[in-house]
């Protein structure tokens, strides 16, 4: 009975010290968590893809989101976009520190750029989840 309820709950959460360094490094440097876990090939591909996507977004002069309050849609889009941007880690931090400011302009290329910047962050979240699963022993 106890075993059944354990199975329903899923695998137990591993200690924070096991996965936190890989996940934190994975946030700061895309693919860094995989390098820490000795998955250099995967880490390099993840880092390259996410970084190139972010750089393409910058070259297309995409806009960075800032959290804004207002109606629900404005809050959702801007706060969600900001979280997506921040998830790129060092790429976002460097861009902000170096003073990249691009107002949200009309135009397909700018719009694609904005989406590339946010998606790079979201793909990094997937990479961080993968690093967590490897560190927790749920995946090879």
């Amino acid at each position: 009975m106890a075993k059944e309820s354990e199975e329903k709950k899923g695998p137990a959460m591993p200690p924070v010290s096991v996965w936190a360094p890989a996940v934190a490094l994975g946030w700061l440097i895309p693919g860094g968590g995989h390098f820490l876990l000795k998955r250099a090939g995967r880490g390099a591909l993840l880092g390259l893809s996410i970084s190139l996507m972010f750089i393409c977004g910058l070259l297309m002069r995409g806009a960075m989101f800032q959290p804004q309050s207002g109606d629900l849609l404005t809050t959702l889009i801007n706060t969600g976009g900001f979280i997506g941007d921040v998830c790129s880690g060092i790429l976002y931090l460097l861009t902000s520190w170096l003073g990249y400011t691009q107002p949200d302009m009309a135009g397909a290329v700018h719009d694609y750029g904005t989406k590339f910047l946010v998606t790079a962050g979201l793909l990094n979240v997937l990479a961080m989840v993968d690093a967590f699963e490897i560190a927790a022993g749920r995946k090879s």
Partner: protein, 60 residues
């Protein structure tokens, strides 16, 4: 320095980068990763062409 891409070029790059990451994080063996990445990429391109043609035909 800036990039001025067409819709297709931008969507192609988007599909490429996303497929690589999706392939790596979802599967367990290198072979499965490559196959799934290629599958996702082809799906992106099929959607790109399909929706593109739908818009073209709907626009008249």
């Amino acid at each position: 320095m800036s990039m001025n891409l067409s819709h297709f070029e931008a969507a192609f790059l988007f599909a490429l980068f996303t497929s690589v990451v999706m392939g790596i994080v979802t599967k367990n063996t290198d072979r499965e990763r490559f196959q799934y990445g290629a599958y996702v990429f082809v799906c992106f391109l099929a959607a790109l062409y399909g929706i593109g043609w739908l818009m073209q035909l709907g626009h008249g």
